[in-house]
């Protein structure tokens, strides 16, 4: 699999590299799946008469490896987990970003997150979308009062009816919050307690599932609760199955955020900047927030003028002040702690 992955990364880089050389007026972006929605990309392509080549990736490690194997100039735009912006900057893969031309004053103040996007006084990225890793559930199958506390969410009562989102950082963040440990404060000494919580959760879960598998499990009744879920998991199903919903328990939950920046050495820095301006404009934000891949809150509050009332209801627009106050950012471990956390996660899965 490693050979295949490496070959895949190399051939991907080569193919995009070739197209970048051949075509002028093209933009190459490494993105998450929500950016691949034609409803989001086509208006930009039409307005600027360019072609946007999108490459999806999973995991910051894969994205950084792909960038490392590419030539300078192959890529123009990078969408990245907010907590990993510093990793891209350390690897010299993001260019400084001139935010004076961006509507930063329109952002929800809590998600500007200079601590993520600005390093040594230089801004390299801006937040474009955020949401929560919390509790998704089927309101017809569980007692909604039980969903208001992490202790009752994964109690014996729901044994075998739980799926866990398959990403160790947010789920371990939730386990830390359940034990009154702030996600930003997680250290090696906290891991045994977090491990115990994870073991309990694991023993009562039916599966540990990725995005599609977790959605499928909830939609088909295979499970009634997804720990680590949120609006990004259930919003796209809201129209057909309104009973699938989500909440933030009283202990709080984890907040995710994704950032966007210009890749260092881009051959189209002006076009890349135009793309970022479009993505964080009110219209771009509304389209990104309701992408067919997954929904999430726009960082720019002005998107509220464009979104419909129904869309804002699904996103819980009016509850955002409470949610922002109640949630904590993803854990952002250093390299050594990251290894310990990942080992603990894998040990738990193998139990």
């Amino acid at each position: 699999m490693t050979r295949l992955s490496a070959l895949f990364l190399t051939t991907s880089a080569l193919s995009v590299s070739a197209s970048a050389v051949l075509a002028e007026g093209e933009l190459n972006a490494l993105v998450w799946c929500d950016h691949t929605d034609p409803a989001l990309i086509e208006p930009f392509e039409a307005e600027h008469n360019v072609k946007v080549n999108l490459r999806e990736y999973e995991g910051t490690g894969a994205a950084l490896a792909l960038l490392e194997q590419s030539r300078p100039g192959d890529w123009d735009v990078l969408v990245i987990d907010g907590i990993d912006v510093f990793r891209a900057v350390e690897a010299n893969m993001l260019a400084p970003l001139d935010t004076s031309a961006l509507p930063m004053d329109d952002f929800f103040p809590e998600v500007v997150m200079e601590e993520n996007n600005t390093i040594d006084g230089v801004t390299y990225a801006v937040t474009e979308k955020f949401g929560y890793n919390t509790i998704s559930y089927n309101s017809e199958k569980v007692d909604e009062a039980d969903m208001q506390s992490l202790a009752t969410v994964w109690s014996e009562k729901y044994s075998g009816r739980i799926s866990i989102y398959d990403y160790y950082l947010p789920v371990m963040g939730l386990a830390a919050i359940a034990g009154n440990v702030a996600t930003a404060e997680i250290g090696s000494g906290d891991l045994p307690a977090i491990g115990e919580t994870l073991s309990t959760l694991r023993s009562r879960s039916a599966s540990v599932a990725g995005v599609v598998a977790a959605q499928t499990a909830l939609a088909t009744g295979e499970v009634d609760i997804v720990v680590g879920g949120g609006e990004w998991l259930t919003a796209v199903l809201a129209e057909e199955q309104p009973e699938l919903t989500w909440t933030i328990p009283e202990e709080g939950a984890v907040r995710w955020a994704q950032s966007i920046g210009v890749v260092e050495g881009s051959e189209n820095p002006d076009l890349a900047m135009e793309f970022i301006k479009y993505i964080i404009s009110a219209e771009g934000q509304a389209r990104l927030a309701t992408s067919s891949c997954f929904w999430g809150m726009p960082a720019n509050a002005k998107a509220g003028d464009v979104l419909t009332d129904m869309q804002k209801d699904v996103l819980r627009w009016d509850s955002q002040p409470d949610y922002l106050a109640l949630t904590q950012l993803y854990p952002a471990p250093d390299a050594d702690l990251d290894i310990e956390m990942q080992d603990l996660w894998l040990e738990t899965l193998q139990q």
Binding site: M1, T2, R3, S5, A6, L7, E58, G59, T60, G61, A62, L64, A65, R87, E90, A91, G160, S163, D166, L169, A206, S207, V208, A209, G210, V212, A213, T216, A217, T220, G221, E222, D334, A335, D336, D338, I339, Q342, D343, L346, E347, L349, Q350
Partner: protein
């Protein structure tokens, strides 16, 4: 044509395949081998000669468990697939009229025509608590409440067997169809029963085809990521899943490469074990 001319012509035919193999197997393999001896310090890749990644594999219990799980699943899939594919290939080769055999083979491999990923998700729906199998068993009163089939090892094995029975049917059929009917007639004439004919004549003669198919099943199954990831529900981890976790966030290519080399060592052992019967020309 002179011997020298024939030799040059032979080289001309072999060179493209040789270059392809060097470029896309030998070189990547050497890179992977070198990578497995490198280390990741913090987030910086340090090239060198270190066995620390192999030591890590030896030390971590969850990695050992992943190898065990991979082997158990692969052996189960291989045995079950052979047991199902052999009778199917036999029926197609000896019971289906010659003019219908092509259609029968086409039907046997029809599931190949759908996407591997889509097929796996389809199985997830079929095996769900409210899926077709549970509903059928509830309907005939076999069970009183739905049982958990999805997100288990059973689901992973089912998805694999569905795929590999098709592959094995083709390899075993190709072997059976080459057998002259005179072997069976001679055995019967000499007084052998149907079972004795199969046990002492047909089976030994078709063993190379069976082992070849089984070996391919073993190789493809032990390195597969998609099926256990979708159908297994992470109820237990296989080696490819552990490799993907190393790559996804931390980009730990050295450890991932060491795991891949270790996996390759297991495949090599399987090859050595089956080499006696392996006949790739029977495919």
């Amino acid at each position: 044509m002179t011997n020298e001319g024939q030799s040059l012509q032979g080289c001309g035919f072999v060179t493209p395949a040789l270059l392809w193999t060097i470029a896309f197997f030998v070189v990547p393999f050497l890179v992977m081998g070198a990578m497995s001896l490198a280390t990741l310090e913090g987030r910086t890749l340090i090239w060198g000669v270190s066995l620390s990644n192999y030591a890590e594999i030896a030390e971590k219990a969850y990695i050992w468990r992943a190898f065990l799980v991979s082997l158990e699943i692969t052996l189960t899939v291989t045995v079950v697939s052979v047991l199902l594919a052999y009778p199917l290939a036999w029926i197609i080769a000896f019971r289906v009229p010659a003019e219908w055999q092509r259609l029968a083979l086409l039907l046997a491999v029809l599931p190949f025509w759908t996407s591997y990923v889509v097929r796996s998700y389809a199985w997830l729906l079929v095996l769900a608590r409210e899926g077709m199998i549970n509903q059928a068993m509830l309907g005939i009163g076999l069970i009183s409440e739905p049982i958990t089939l999805a997100n288990t090892r059973f689901a992973t094995v089912t998805g694999f067997v569905h795929f590999f029975v098709m592959l094995l049917t083709l390899t075993i059929y190709a072997n059976l169809i080459q057998l002259s009917p005179n072997y069976r007639r001679a055995a019967m004439d000499l007084g052998a029963s149907a079972f004795q004919t199969f046990r002492y004549v047909i089976l030994p003669l078709t063993l190379p085809g069976v082992v070849t198919g089984a070996f391919l099943t073993f190789v493809l199954c032990i390195g597969d990521y998609v099926t256990p990831q979708i159908l297994g529900g992470n109820s237990e981890l296989t080696v490819p899943q552990v490799i993907m976790v190393q790559l996804g966030r931390r980009a730990d290519f050295p450890l991932a490469s060491a795991l891949a080399i270790a996996l390759m060592a297991i495949v090599t052992l399987a090859y050595i074990f089956s080499a006696r019967w392996l006949r790739l020309d029977r495919l």
